[in-house]
């Protein structure tokens, strides 16, 4: 009992701090470096618990404990991100992309802007976004060009 009483205040004080992922797919790495091995990714709005931090990197874990590793601090926010479930379904169905219902300037506003400005084409913007470069491709590119990163080795 005495052990319980002693540990209780510590448990209250050590209330975990949470952050939300503020990019579509935030990389989670094994070490707090740009070159850290990619262990997975956390999607927009996912709540992550802070475990540690080092420089610009924060060690986090997901609520289900399945994902744990280091994320760059710029990918996380204290601001609560609330996803609109109805919009998610609609977007997922129309674009095949993950749902991105956000407040303010969002897909609804872009749609309204497009309706008002039919002469502004988004064709090439979509083409730009269609080009995806993976972490693996980047590492291969650097190696082939004999470019030797100096950070995070």
């Amino acid at each position: 009992m005495s052990v319980f009483l002693l540990s209780l205040p510590t448990a209250i004080l050590a209330k975990p701090e949470n952050l939300y992922v503020q990019v579509k797919k935030g990389n989670v790495r094994s070490t707090p470096t740009y070159l850290g091995k990619l262990v997975g990714s956390a999607s927009y709005g996912t709540l992550m618990t802070i475990e540690d931090n080092k420089g610009a990197w924060i060690k986090v874990s997901s609520a289900d404990g399945k994902l744990q590793g280091w994320m760059h601090a710029s990918l996380l926010t204290k601001k609560k991100i609330k996803l609109d479930a109805s919009k998610n379904t609609e977007l997922a169905a129309s674009s095949g992309e993950m749902a991105l219902a956000t407040k303010g300037f969002n897909s609804d506003v872009e749609k309204a802007f497009k309706n008002k400005n039919p002469d502004v084409s988004f064709e090439w913007v979509d083409k730009m976004e269609a080009i995806k470069v993976t972490d693996k491709e980047i590492m291969k590119f650097l190696k082939e060009g004999d470019v030797k990163p100096k950070e995070g080795e």
């Binding site: 503020q22 990019v23 579509k24 797919k25 935030g26 990389n27 740009y34 927009y44 610009a56 760059h72 710029s74 990918l75 926010t77 601001k79 991105l100 956000t102 407040k103 303010g104 300037f105 969002n106 897909s107 609804d108 506003v109 872009e110 309204a112 802007f113 008002k116 400005n117 002469d119 502004v120 084409s121 988004f122 090439w124 913007v125 083409k127 730009m128 976004e129 080009i131 995806k132 470069v133 972490d135 491709e137 980047i138 590119f141 650097l142 082939e144 060009g145 004999d146 470019v147 030797k148 990163p149 100096k150 950070e151 995070g152």
Partner: protein, 304 residues
């Protein structure tokens, strides 16, 4: 409740200027709405909280909103500058650009970094919010090797990292957006709110285009982007001296062609060289790496 309405009406009068007035007036209307039963106190509180945030600046724009602004800004730029339909060159630019962005202080944006070549001889480049980077064929022609092109892209990533384009949005616009957002929580996202938000969105785009394309950023912002470029290049493993050699080549080309594009929106290359010189003193000349040279010439064969 009547007392509260009266109190707010009185306090609103001396605040009849700028943002303060907006806060006061919004409080009046929400109090009246609560009194009239149109709003429950919880919703009214959310509106007031929203408008109290008006003094905040571009930092209130979330990465998701930045992404949507960036998409539209890019579309507007692309309307003026024809894109280069060269999949190989654009892919090379995207791999190189992403390799650099990975080592920036913003290694990922909401929707990722994306690069596109504009099919123009004009020497120019634009970094639209959220990571959409457009580089002209003319600017690529100024680069003699991959390291120099890396310097160009790292500079643009620097602009994204510091959210320079977002800072071109007049503060009043953010205020307006926040007001609409606050109102949005009171009812469903109706046509009226959407129309108002779209108007604010359009004005914000025009603010950005006005600065990015027409007037250019301040020397302070350009120096910031150059400093970030040096850091990014060091971390990635490119020699930052390439930024200096690229600027020298650009200066020569600008003089030769008498162009107004980049020269109009950027400080004189010699000024930029002076600013970065102290940062790259320890860097020797850019070494020639055969494999790098080979892939550079191959990927950009139709441009160089």
């Amino acid at each position: 409740m009547k007392k509260i309405v009266t109190l707010f009406l009185i306090t609103a009068i001396p605040l009849a200027s700028g943002c303060k007035m907006l806060t006061g007036l919004t409080k009046v209307s929400t109090s009246i709405a609560v009194a009239a039963g149109a709003l429950d106190p919880q919703h009214a509180d959310s509106i007031n909280k929203g408008t109290e945030a008006v003094t905040k600046t571009f930092e209130d724009i979330t990465p998701a909103q930045e992404y949507y602004i960036g998409r539209s800004v890019s579309a507007m730029v692309i309307k003026e500058y024809k894109p280069l339909n060269n999949p190989g060159a654009n892919e090379y630019l995207n791999v190189l650009g992403n390799a650099l962005a990975k080592f920036s202080d913003k290694p990922q944006t909401f929707g990722g970094y994306h690069f596109l070549i504009m099919d123009t001889d004009e020497i120019n480049a634009f970094a639209a919010p959220g990571g959409f980077i457009l580089v002209s064929r003319g600017l690529i022609k100024c680069c003699e090797n991959e390291d120099e092109l890396a310097a160009v892209l790292a500079h643009e990533v620097g602009h994204i990292q510091h959210e320079h384009a977002l800072q071109a949005i007049h503060k009043g616009r953010v205020t307006g957006a926040l007001t609409v957002l606050a109102a949005e929580s009171a009812k469903s996202f109706g046509g009226e709110e959407l129309a108002e938000l779209t108007n604010i969105f359009e004005s914000s785009l025009n603010d950005i285009i006005g600065t990015m394309v027409n007037s250019g950023y301040s020397r302070k912002f350009e120096t910031q982007a150059d400093k970030s470029a040096v850091t990014i290049m060091r971390r990635a493993g490119y020699n930052p001296s390439a930024l200096k050699t690229m600027l020298k080549l650009m200066e020569k080309n600008l003089e030769h062609t008498g162009q107004k594009g980049f020269g109009k929106t950027h400080p004189d290359p010699s000024v930029r060289i002076k600013d970065i010189d102290p940062l790259i003193r320890d860097c020797g000349p850019v070494a020639r790496v055969p494999d790098r040279e080979k892939r550079y010439k191959k990927a950009l064969a139709g441009i160089l």
